[in-house]
């Protein structure tokens, strides 16, 4: 069965400020979509609204996964439906170990060995999984730990909020290749937010979206990323 994540006319605010102003996007299993756009255009807000971050309020529209409305669910229920957010700045949770977090998230079997195996696949030292969640991890290690969690939880869709920031070139290659494999391994659908084309080399996106002022203003193939690199976002601001 093909899974489908559908975002329809999504409006959202943070505090009193409207950030999303009618986002439409459909993502299916195994596809890689990339959202690019200038700072403050609403890319991260979109990811946070979908996953239910406190303070990020959807004011209208819908986000459905295989027909189930996500916006009315608790954040944890959204994950269990199959949407996972790899954060731009993964938070520290002192006193909580990854293994206990994964068990509480419903992972069964030998969770320690699953975490260790997935850590090895992206070159993350396995002993880091013994520490409390993200505590004393570098920025790059935290990003890799997010990918380990994706690999263990195996969601239907992963939202990657600047997964490439903080990673060195080698780590970026490992992470991107692992995520690309996941699109084949369990048909993971990916919605990646990024500013940089280098992520696209290994992740091989199917669709690129340009976001501006809270809307998707252009959609195309990889050639769109080349155009952005050449011309910047200015031409897309004019499209609005």
């Amino acid at each position: 069965m093909r899974n489908e994540l559908v975002i329809r006319d999504l409006h959202a605010r943070v505090g009193d400020k409207e950030i999303l102003r009618g986002v439409n996007l459909t993502l299916t299993s195994g596809e890689v979509h990339v959202i690019m756009g200038p700072n403050g255009c609403g890319k991260s807000t979109l990811a946070h609204v979908i996953t239910g971050r406190p303070g990020y309020v959807a004011t209208s529209g819908s986000v459905t996964l295989n027909g189930t409305e996500l916006l009315t669910l608790e954040p944890s229920e959204r994950v269990r439906e199959g949407v996972f957010l790899a954060m731009q700045h993964p938070l520290e949770v002192p006193g909580v170990r990854p293994v206990d977090m994964m068990r509480a998230a419903g992972v069964t079997g030998n969770v320690e060995s699953q975490l260790a195996e997935q850590s090895r696949r992206i070159g993350l030292r396995t002993e880091l999984m013994e520490r409390f969640v993200n505590v004393d991890l570098s920025g790059g290690e935290r990003k890799r730990a997010e990918v380990v969690q994706i690999s263990v939880l195996q969601p239907k869709f992963a939202l990657l909020d600047e997964i490439d920031s903080g990673l060195d070139v080698d780590a970026l290659g490992l992470v991107a290749r692992r995520l690309h494999e996941a699109t084949k391994e369990w048909d993971l659908g990916i919605l990646a937010i990024t500013h940089f084309r280098r992520l696209l080399h290994e992740l091989t996106p199917d669709v690129i979206h340009v976001m501006s002022h809270g809307k998707i203003v252009a959609t195309g193939g990889p050639e769109l990323a080349e155009q952005l690199e050449r011309d910047g976002y200015e031409p897309f601001r004019e499209i609005e």
Binding site: P75, S76, L91, V93, V96, A105, F132
Partner: protein, 402 residues
């Protein structure tokens, strides 16, 4: 307190320093026990405390199963029942465990503390642990089993120059008990002592403890205090930093339920410059329980480049729960870095959301975070040892956080 003192006088007959002990009991009788009009006892439910109801300690209760698991991780295991040495198993070269007659008693350090004075008058002997110079020792586990009645355990731990030691003390049992332990730590030049207290006494127990540490040049002491049990649980942990480069880390936590009162106190005294203290106190109060945190950092004139910080976070899990936080600074030197912060409030919303965004339900996220208060305190122990405690903590937290 007449009934109690009559029994006490009969108990000290034959103990070393019996005459001095008797004199000290007379002093205590004249002074009386503290009341809530004394500032330092203001938050204690002393109106519910009748010392005359506590006789000589009776047979101690069996220790919980997890202690058996702990013994596999310790190099030396010492069992103490009602403050009396029972047995020690294992040994380490350069580490000396003895049950010692200290001869003359010295009440001078405890003039302001009636319960520590009671311990000074009534402790049977002193459990002494000494580590020789340059010895990097492993772990000593002290298992305190507490029975009904009053007991006054006394411990002295001395880590000599360049030596290292980890001591774990577990307190269990304690139904209808009053236990007032006093522990004294000496950390020599460049020595390192890690001390973890895991207090999971019965919820009817009165536990009034006091520890004092003296830390010499470049010595380090890390102390973790985990408080789960007791009707009234008071842990006063003091440290004197007397040599340049001395460091003291004190981490305390509690989980209150029912009508429990957890009263955590600390006094870090920086006598000289380039000394460092870090205090972290976190806890959660459920039901009608109360917590008090009172911390004093004192920096003497001339103690330049001292760095002292204290942080206290309290989580209230029910509308009837209550927490008081009283951080104090007494600084007599300008060239220092000093900070204190305290809060009473809910769990960190973003940390909780992070867990929820992994698929953890809100209830489980909160439970994990509260368990985390305790697990953080155990982070100084090897993971396999910490895991033994963590399993016990998980059970206890699940009882409280439904």
């Amino acid at each position: 307190m007449k009934t109690f003192l009559n029994i006490a006088h009969s108990q000290i007959t034959g103990l070393p320093g019996a005459v001095e002990r008797g004199r000290l009991l007379d002093v205590i009788e004249r002074q009386g026990l503290p009341t809530t009009t004394d500032e330092v006892w203001r938050y204690a439910p002393l109106s519910q405390f009748n010392i005359d109801t506590f006789g000589a300690p009776e047979r101690s209760e069996a220790s919980p199963a997890f202690i058996n698991d702990l013994t596999h991780h310790a190099d030396i295991v010492v069992q103490i029942d009602n403050g009396r040495y029972v047995a020690a198993q294992g040994d380490m070269p350069g580490v000396h465990v003895s049950w010692r007659d200290e001869g003359a008693i010295d009440e001078a350090p405890y003039q302001d503390d009636a319960f520590a004075l009671l311990n000074t008058a009534l402790h049977p002997h002193v459990l002494s642990i000494e580590v020789d110079t340059d010895v990097s020792a492993g772990t000593v586990l002290l298992v305190h089993r507490v029975g009904t009645g009053a007991s006054f355990p006394r411990t002295r731990i001395s880590v000599s120059r360049n030596a290292r030691l980890t001591v774990i003390e577990v307190w269990c049992g304690g139904t209808d008990a009053f236990v007032a332990p006093v522990s004294e730590f000496e950390v020599g030049d460049n020595a390192h002592l890690t001390h973890v207290t895991y207090q999971r006494l019965d919820s009817s127990a009165w536990h009034v403890s006091r520890t004092t540490a003296r830390i010499e040049r470049s010595g380090r002491m890390h102390q973790s205090v985990l408080c789960l049990g007791g009707q009234y649980d008071r842990a006063r942990n003091d440290a004197e930093l007397v040599g340049p480069g001395a460091e003291n880390q004190l981490w305390t936590t509690f989980l209150g339920s029912g009508d429990q009162v957890h009263d955590l106190r600390s006094h870090q005294m920086h006598h000289v410059g380039r000394t460092n203290s870090v205090l972290l106190s976190k806890g959660a109060a459920a039901d009608r329980s109360r917590s008090v945190y009172t911390g004093l950092i004192e920096i003497e004139r001339g103690a330049r480049r001292t760095d002292a910080r204290q942080t206290n976070h309290n989580l209230l899990l029910s509308p009837q729960a209550h927490a008081d936080s009283v951080p104090n600074l007494d600084i007599r030197e300008n060239d220092v870095t000093c900070a204190h912060a305290s809060s009473v409030g809910p769990l960190d919303e973003l940390q909780r959301w992070y867990l929820e965004s992994r698929g953890v339900s809100r209830q489980d996220a909160e439970r994990l975070m509260i368990e985390g208060f305790f697990k953080e305190m155990l982070d100084v122990l090897p993971t396999d040892v910490a895991r033994v405690f963590e399993a016990d903590i998980t059970v206890r937290v699940r009882e409280v956080v439904a």
